[in-house]
């Protein structure tokens, strides 16, 4: 077997990508095919049905459900005010000890069920709009649903992230990919920026970044115990993107202290000062989704497009990164792909590759499953 399939994250200096911008419900598309859009251009909008509040009027009044209709002060479809009267009991002699049911919300009295005695109250509709997320061109309109926006950009995928879509100016806050982000680097000048760190950021430093109004942090590694502290719970299934922690965090390498890949660091550095669209949403499942950073390019920067590689064939000479102990994070080049199974330290018999680490770091044998391809 001369090659093997191996995963790899996409890190492309120049790429053409298409982002789907879809409403959560059908609505109105505000742009047309071929339109040039900015990241903050609203491309579609709709109104989500308001939140529902259930209220059991029969229980509150202590009256059989079938008798409620004559006690209702409003009818289905009527607008209601907060604390407005919905129903009132007849009371003693029609005058005394009347019980009143008042609306807990403003909205619409949607329905009443004579069997259960339950009323459905609905709050006013919630307006929702989606923007283009990236500077680009509308390539396709999905009628009543949204658009596909194409952009010519620098595209960097991380391995894990939290938080949703944000935008900001790229700013480097470390000098090398192996440097940790120290609190003193987070200054008021970082407000509204997408910061690029090196190997690690602590939770306290990240919290400082939040307090300074930083939009996003892109860094090599972060501790899982800090993630738990930040989220307030232990993340189970890796489906993220909806967290509201005041910042979007993207890890390019993994958990723990891990130097950012030099290629990624250098590429981001070359884009410093440009506006980046960032999304921390991650889904590690079939149909995997990784967090991303998109820097739309213009004019002379828009050179030829590199064909990105999300997965591919590994061969002798391929550049790889080890993604599991004992060589986690180390880079090297494949020197052999022996076909026979080999017994490793754990006593497991596995397919392996031989590699030579960068800068005379020696040689090693690792399971093929424990490396990923990198682009250089």
């Amino acid at each position: 077997m001369a090659f093997a399939y191996t995963p790899g994250l996409r890190v492309a200096a120049v790429a053409d990508i298409v982002k789907t911008r879809r409403l959560p419900l059908k609505g109105q598309v505000l742009v047309k095919k071929g339109d040039h859009v900015k990241a903050d251009t609203v491309v579609a909008r709709t109104e989500l049905p308001g939140n529902v509040k259930m209220l059991n009027i029969a229980n509150i009044l202590g009256v059989p459900s079938r008798d409620i209709h004559e006690l209702l002060r409003i009818k289905e479809g009527d607008r209601i005010e907060e604390k407005g009267v919905l129903a009132q009991s007849k009371g003693l002699f029609g005058k005394f000890f009347k019980n009143t049911v008042r609306s807990p919300i403003e909205g619409v009295f949607e329905s009443f069920n004579e069997i259960t005695g339950q009323a459905v109250l609905r709050e006013p509709p919630i307006p929702v709009q989606i923007d283009a997320y990236v500077d680009g061109v509308v390539e396709e309109v999905l009628p009543d649903e949204g658009v596909l926006v194409g952009t010519h950009c620098t595209f960097v995928q991380g391995i894990f992230g939290i938080g949703g879509e944000v935008r900001g100016e790229l700013m480097m806050i470390v000098d090398s990919p192996d440097q940790e982000v120290s609190p003193d680097r987070i200054t008021p000048g970082c407000a509204g920026k997408v910061l690029v760190g090196g190997s690690y950021i602590s939770n306290s430093t990240l919290r400082k970044a939040v307090s300074m109004g930083v939009k996003a942090m892109v860094v090599g590694g972060f501790d899982d115990k800090d993630l738990k502290d930040l989220l307030g719970y232990d993340l189970g299934v890796a489906i993220t993107g909806h967290e509201k922690k005041g910042i979007t965090l993207i890890l390019t390498e993994g958990f723990g202290r891990m130097g950012m890949a030099h290629g990624t660091f250098d590429l981001l550095k070359s884009r410093e000062g440009m506006t980046a669209s960032v999304n921390g949403a991650t889904q590690i499942r079939a149909g995997v989704m990784r967090p991303e950073l998109v820097v739309p390019l213009q004019g002379s920067e828009s050179a030829s497009v590199e064909k990105g590689r999300e997965a591919g064939a590994m061969d002798i000479g391929s550049f790889i990164r080890c993604i599991r102990a004992p060589y986690f994070g180390r880079l090297g080049r494949v020197t052999a792909l022996p076909p026979e199974l080999v017994v490793v330290d754990s006593e497991a018999k596995v397919r392996v590759l031989e590699l030579e680490f960068d800068e005379g770091g020696g040689k090693a044998v690792v399971p093929r499953a424990n490396v990923e391809l990198i682009e250089r």
Partner: protein, 622 residues
């Protein structure tokens, strides 16, 4: 072709990460496993065609055997009536994440839970239970349905003749979400409606035009009755028709699987992997008339299968713990079990922050494997908790009668989780089968036995076994076509007996003898072993070797015949041997003190020779 003329069979299982192929042939008067091949599954980009992985996996067998099993254009498995290729080709699949469903019910603990049981029983992964009272706002439900992109939705709610509003509102939410199938852009998403009969029309009005709507009998026609059969059958049917057929390359694969009968081609349907494993376990239990449990621990999910008695009749149950697994779901094991519970199985001291980072890194790069012994031991600690939690879930859902018209009392209906009482009885269990990478591919079979015992805590006398190379799915689908071949290969090549485990259950006195075991060994010699409190012991008894035995439990302790009653029978060995477990059951406790806990774990691992001796020097000392 008559069944007895079949001589050569190819079977594949398209898993979420690996496609496994096996070649079975008639040799020396019986069917045997001849070769095994594997290749990465190719449902996802860039290949997006499951058959590519199948061709690669079968191609590996071709290379190893030096014979042709693919047709000359290399675009299909060669099935023929003559000596070319094979006589039968069949396949199972859980690729692309298996069958992923969202279920909806009006009340989460009632119709929501019934819908969940129906979907789980059909082999689905339940991604979300949407209910009118689940605490989410309508637009949040819409967003979740859309985000999770289920393959299918099961909508239930309301008893027949009861209120319709809420179930119709759920239909409104589904319509509003308008989720798109993961595979097959442009196809409608299948929705099964199994709720209040009187709401069929308004539900059809809501969903009929935008979804592939199927209407079946209400799975909760009255409060105290559960009728899961029609919904389950329809899930299976739609899985084949819509989900499988739309997954990349499956329409091609569905044409490949089959055999020639009397000159005519007969297609063999592709079976969902958990369905095939369950079928095999059910068959084994029926043939041998025993109580069986099987567990298949994968990367994303852990399936537990069991056959226990209910009112004198054997009842088969299957549960799928959707988020307990060793790669994609490994972090959820940590979140569900808690760090303390995972760490309690690690036989050396380890910094918690370090362990957390290791587990997370496995989650974000799920296909990596442990290279170092220390990493292997940590993974096996996590596996113990994944298996334990999967068993807890199985106990909760394997209750009452099977399938149609499950009768419950009104009282039970308000407490569904404990309704009916669990059928799982570890003392009655005869055979426990482990399957899945971490169990089937453990470097030492002793590790497999150790993990199974620690997590399932079998009581009394239980045979432990492992699926040698994870081929129960293949044999499950084969049992539909050629039961003899499936049974013979299962007995000879698939099922590896590890040995009997004897574990007295009941309140134990610290430091005492739990039981005395008198053995008449295969060579006629007699020996007496004691099961000591807090100790494990391995008695050499090889595969196929049997010893006549008499077990005398201590006062109040049970080994199968009741507290304090002796047990007479035959104990059988295996590739591990006869395991005597004196660590106690009901409860089983590890020492609370960290130093003593590590000492005990090291002692037990030493008794079973689970790891090479250098494991004693792993981790930091304290």
């Amino acid at each position: 072709m008559a069944a007895r003329e079949i001589k050569s069979i190819l079977a594949t299982d398209c898993g979420s990460t690996t496609t496994k192929s096996i070649l079975i042939e008639w040799r020396d008067g019986r069917f045997r496993l001849i070769r095994r091949g594997e290749a990465p599954t190719t449902v996802e980009a860039p290949a997006e065609d499951v058959t590519k992985g199948v061709l690669n996996a079968v191609g590996e067998i071709e290379d190893l055997e030096g014979r042709q099993f693919l047709n000359s254009r290399k675009d299909g498995v060669l099935v023929s009536e003559d000596d070319q290729g094979v006589d039968v080709y069949c396949s199972t699949s859980s690729a692309g994440g298996g069958l992923q469903m969202t279920v909806a019910g009006v009340v989460k603990s009632m119709t929501g839970e019934s819908a969940q049981r129906a979907a789980l029983g059909a082999g689905a992964i339940v991604m979300d239970v949407v209910a009118s009272n689940d605490g989410r706002l309508p637009h949040e439900k819409v967003a979740d349905i859309r985000r999770l992109r289920p393959d299918m939705i099961l909508l239930s709610g309301g008893i027949d003749g009861g209120t319709m509003d809420h179930v119709v509102e759920l239909a409104e939410i589904i319509r509003a979400a308008d989720p798109k199938p993961r595979f097959g852009v442009g196809f409608k998403l299948p929705v099964i409606y199994a709720g209040n009969v009187e709401a069929r029309k308004p539900v059809t009005d809501e969903l009929g035009d935008t979804m592939e709507l199927k209407i079946v009998d209400n799975l909760r026609p009255v409060l105290e009755k559960e009728n899961l059969g029609p919904a389950r059958d329809t899930i299976h049917e739609l899985f084949m028709e819509h989900v499988m057929a739309q997954a990349p390359g499956y329409s091609k694969l569905m044409e490949w699987t089959g055999l020639y009968e009397d000159g005519k081609w007969r297609n063999i349907p592709i079976m969902p992997t958990p369905g095939a494993v369950g079928k095999l376990i059910e068959t084994v239990a029926r043939q041998l008339d025993i109580h069986v449990m099987g567990v298949d621990i994968g990367g994303a999910t852990t399936d537990v299968f069991s056959v226990f008695d209910s009112e004198g009749q054997p009842v088969f149950n299957r549960t799928v713990s959707a988020n307990l697994g060793m790669s994609y779901s490994v972090s959820n094991v940590l979140a569900s079990a808690g760090m303390e519970n995972v760490m309690r199985w690690v036989p050396f001291h380890l910094d918690e922050a370090d362990l957390r980072n290791r587990i997370r890194n496995k989650m974000i790069r799920p296909t990596t494997i442990p290279q170092e012994l220390e990493e292997l031991i940590i993974e096996q600690a996590i596996a113990r908790e994944a298996l334990r939690l999967a068993l807890v879930q199985h106990r909760e859902l394997a209750v009452g009668l099977k399938g149609v018209a499950q009768e419950r009392t009104i009282g039970d209906a308000f407490d569904q989780s404990s309704s009916g009482g669990t059928l799982v009885d570890m003392m009655a269990l005869d055979l426990l089968i482990g399957s899945g990478g971490v169990l089937s591919h453990a470097p030492r079979r002793r590790q497999t036995a150790h993990m199974l015992i620690d997590s399932f805590l079998p009581e009394g006398v239980t045979m432990l076994a492992v699926d040698s190379i994870f081929m129960m799915p293949h044999l499950g689908v084969l049992s539909e076509v050629h039961p003899q071949a499936a049974t013979e290969v299962f007995d000879n090549d698939c099922l590896i007996k590890l040995g009997h485990c004897v574990a007295p259950a009941g309140q134990v006195k610290r430091g005492g003898i739990l039981a005395e075991v008198k053995l008449t060994m295969p060579d006629g010699t007699e020996r007496t072993e004691t099961i000591e409190y807090g100790k494990m012991k391995l008695v050499p008894l090889g595969a196929g070797e049997k010893a006549k035995s008499e077990i005398e439990p201590g006062k109040g302790l049970d080994v199968g015949n009741g507290p304090g009653k002796s047990w007479t029978g035959t104990l059988e060995g295996g590739v591990v041997g006869l395991i005597l477990d004196g660590r106690g059951r009901r409860p089983f406790n590890l020492p609370a003190d960290d130093v003593k806990r590590v000492e005990k774990l090291q002692e037990w691992s030493g008794s079973l020779d689970s790891y090479p001796e250098r494991f004693l020097s792993l981790g930091g000392s304290r």
